[in-house]
């Protein structure tokens, strides 16, 4: 890949998005966990639960600040680096982003301040309401950004307007109820819940290993394990739904994930591991599990899943039609008024308009797609294949970690139900070591979703290569280096502060601090208190 504006802009977007997504999942999950813990506190009146909220809230706060700081970059970057994209789809894509601000960001950001500063100014129930509103706001923001992203994967409810040279919204409800967006939303927030659960589980395990704050740590683990187990199951179910939907709407993504170069007779086998080779267009040393792929992709034993070669052949046909659409569009735009449009051009555009985006794929090779040679068309058709080894491995790492985390949270759920959390050290050590895993999985998930959509920025509508701003490569390189530098420094500082806060640990019950005055200390005896006892 040469480092032109397109590559640099993609690199910058990927770097800033992956970085932003280091903080988002923890915020999503911890906000809910905080709300749950505080609910227990308000219902039972036991002080240990308040201290849990305060302690995990401190870590939440450090993380939240980074999420906010890196989030603004994401919103502004569409206009900065993807100017033609913003012009081409702003009519649809802008709406969920604005709604995210209206419905979600104001809610979470307004109440996050009160969450930290309102302990002494609000009643218990009042503060609990604030915490829940913050958590709901946080999760709403994920809903809207995934409605926006869902539309990029499966652009519904819109059509192209030759007068304005852009896609325009015709059905808001279709954009909202996009099935891809719905599946992605639940899949992504569940992944966030798992991330936070594994984080709480791991940090609490470390306290148990050190013999510190056992009452707080064990209660945290109980909550995290049960919440984490439900969420991990939900991640897989909705991940499966996403897989099924890509079988419908993004066949190429599915074929690339599977490194399925040729169409196989139904039901297709699932390739467990192997080494996909994009040059030779085959997968070396593949280990197959029969039937499984057909079941995931089509939920039937008789429907075929098309392989890459067949999909490329389809794409060739689309590109030919797209070139015709492009030619017709030029005539329509040259006509000036709608009365002057030649009827033949109008007809050609009506017939081939849906494939206009495929015509734009040729822009990489020729200025006027109508003049493309057959070789250029074939090349552009092969461009519709995303980088297979990247997808193949990213997907397998993601799923592997996901399955492991079901076992981990399930195991701890069992241990805490049997009150055996402190019985053996190795599960606790395992939980500490597992802390980075969910982050690796969610980053891989982003790669599967976004690299898997290439070469499209909007699936089938707009190629990534024509969506960039008219900027110099040097300019983009400057900001890429700038972001990298700032982000690296901040990351190191953030990790140091997190570790410091974790080492310092929860405040001692006798310290007082924010809250509602001194309360009876019911968990003073370390290790003695069972996880749940009814309030006296």
């Amino acid at each position: 890949m040469e480092l032109d504006v397109v590559a640099l802009s993609r690199l910058q977007f990927a770097a800033t998005a992956l970085y932003h997504f280091l903080f988002v999942p923890l915020t999503l999950g911890l906000s809910i966990l905080l709300a749950v813990m505080e609910t227990v506190y308000v219902m039972t009146g036991r002080d240990v639960w308040r201290r849990m909220v305060v302690f995990w809230g401190t870590l939440f706060g450090i993380n939240f600040a980074m999420g906010v700081a890196t989030g603004i970059v994401m919103e502004f970057q569409f206009g900065m680096n993807w100017s033609y994209y913003s012009h081409y789809v702003g009519d649809i894509f802008g709406a969920p982003l604005a709604l995210e601000g209206l419905m979600a960001f104001f809610l979470e950001a307004t109440f996050v301040g009160l969450f930290f500063f309102g302990w002494d100014k609000l009643s218990r129930v009042g503060h609990l309401a604030v915490t829940w509103l913050m958590a709901i706001g946080t999760n709403f923001s994920a809903l809207w950004i995934l409605i926006a992203n869902g539309w990029m994967q499966f652009p519904v409810g819109s059509e192209f307007n030759p007068e304005t040279m852009r896609m325009e919204m015709v059905d808001f409800f279709a954009v909202l109820m996009n099935p891809v967006a719905q599946a992605k939303f639940v899949h992504t927030v569940s992944a966030g819940y798992v991330t936070a659960s594994v984080f709480v589980l791991g940090v609490s395990a470390w306290y148990l290993l050190k013999g510190r704050s056992p009452a707080l740590a064990k209660r945290s683990m109980t909550i995290a394990a049960s919440f984490g187990l439900c969420s991990a199951l939900s991640v897989v179910v909705l991940g499966d739904e996403s897989g099924y939907l890509s079988g419908e709407h993004q066949k190429m993504k599915l074929a690339a994930i599977e490194a399925m170069w040729e169409t196989e007779p139904a039901p297709a086998a699932f390739t467990l591991v192997g080494f996909p080779d994009p040059e030779a267009r085959e997968t070396h040393y593949a280990i197959h599990i029969p039937y499984v792929m057909g079941l995931i992709g089509t939920r039937s034993l008789t429907t075929e899943i098309p392989g890459i070669a067949d999909l490329v052949q389809n794409a060739e046909g689309h590109i030919r039609k797209g070139a015709l659409a492009y030619g017709a569009l030029q005539e329509i735009r040259a006509a000036g008024s709608s009365a002057a449009i030649p009827p033949a051009a109008r007809e050609a555009f009506e017939e081939n308009g849906p494939w206009l985006g495929y015509g734009l794929l040729l822009k990489r090779y020729v200025d006027d797609p109508t003049q493309a040679t057959p070789e250029q068309i074939t090349k552009a058709a092969w461009d519709t294949v995303p980088h297979v080894p990247t997808l193949f491995w990213a997907f397998r790492i993601m799923v592997g970690i996901g399955l492991f985390l079901i076992l981990l949270t399930g195991g701890f759920f069992w241990l805490s139900a049997r009150r055996r959390l402190e019985k053996r050290r190795w599960p606790l050590q395992l939980a500490v070591l597992a802390i980075p895993l969910p982050w690796i999985a969610v980053e891989m998930g982003w790669i599967v979703a976004e690299v898997g959509r290439q070469p499209w920025i909007i699936e089938g509508v707009l190629p990534t290569a024509v969506a960039v701003s008219n900027l110099g490569a040097a300019t983009v390189l400057t900001t890429l280096l700038g972001f990298t530098l700032i982000y690296t420094v901040l990351f190191l500082v953030e990790i140091k502060l997190m570790l410091k806060a974790i080492r310092k640990g929860p405040q001692h019950p006798l310290d007082g601090g924010p809250g509602h005055g001194p309360e009876p200390l019911r968990d003073a005896a370390p290790g003695a208190a069972p996880a749940f006892t009814p309030a006296e």
């Binding site: 206009g79 709406a95 604005a98 995210e100 601000g101």
Partner: protein, 385 residues
Amino acid sequence: MVLHELISYDVLRVIWWLLLGVLLVGFAVMDGFDLGAQALLPFVAKTDLERRSVINSIGPVWEGNQVWLILGGGAIFAAWPLIYAAAFSGFYLAMFLLLVTFILRPVAFKFRSKREEPKWRARWDVVLCLSGGLAAILFGAATSSALMGSLFSYDPASLGVTFKWTSFFRLLHPFGLLCGLVSLAMLLAHGAGWLAFKLEGPVAERARSIGSKAALAAAALFVVGGVWVAFLNGHQIVSVVDPAAASNPLRKSVELVQGGWLSNYAAFPPAILAPVLGILGMLGAAWALRRNLPRRALLASGLGITGIVATVGVSIFPFLLPSALDPRSGLTVWDASSSHFTLFVMLGSTLIFMPLILLYTAWVYRILRGKVDVAAIAKGDTHAY
């Protein structure tokens, strides 16, 4: 009859022009006092406890206030996608600098008091001060390009926008710097009003003293800017415009007229209220700060900011972002909006959510009312910044 046709396209565009103004004013007034207070930090607060009390006065509210910027970005994307596509890529490096200030700000708030070392804290104090001040100047300088015109043009075939890379340096033009200073001075005055309102003792006193000077400077620089505008080229559409036509900026002809930005005031005399409000608001803030009436000072500086922001919008109407390079490429209310349907949907959403936002924001400020509890900060309240 389709629902969105209840409101005609041109009327929706004017409504969204007004809403754009509301968002920009909302951002300038709400986040403005945070930015101003940040920029004032090292000048009004000397000891660590004083600085922490300044930071804690904005600590619970800056995150919510900042959403006005985020919503502004999203709303421009949704309602004025051509502005979003052109301005954000055109002022690329200025945007980058702005983002740096907005990346560092939350981090500085959260990280500053997490460690005891004076050196660590002093470093983040510098970051807070510079990020607040620089952001204020950048917003002002960017506004100058709405009056001077930017260097961009549209490709007729693709309607893709191309900016000249020298656009960034136009922000350093003396007029750009003047606009930056107006913005800095008005936000300093506003931030000082907030500090006087929330704090007591020497910090509030210093804030009042600096703030009243800043307010006077803002009024004076704003008047200088007004005189300068009389000598700038204003853009005027000379072709017939269909205000309900599809958004395509290349369908009009534009002429440049020296002092043309003042013609709206002749055509529509009540528009003069905007600059008058700007000047009187700032003078009022200076007076109230001197008289130790912080509540009135905050109100006056808020009105002054409203007047100053409105002045820019009213002067260049119907333009939003004129082009000095290719005047007919300039973006106006009539050719830079999203579609009729999207404008309608977004208006509906705004009408539902904006009152809710104002309601719960007001509730939060009510809960947080009163002076900052400096004693609690000194005691080491773990939740204070």
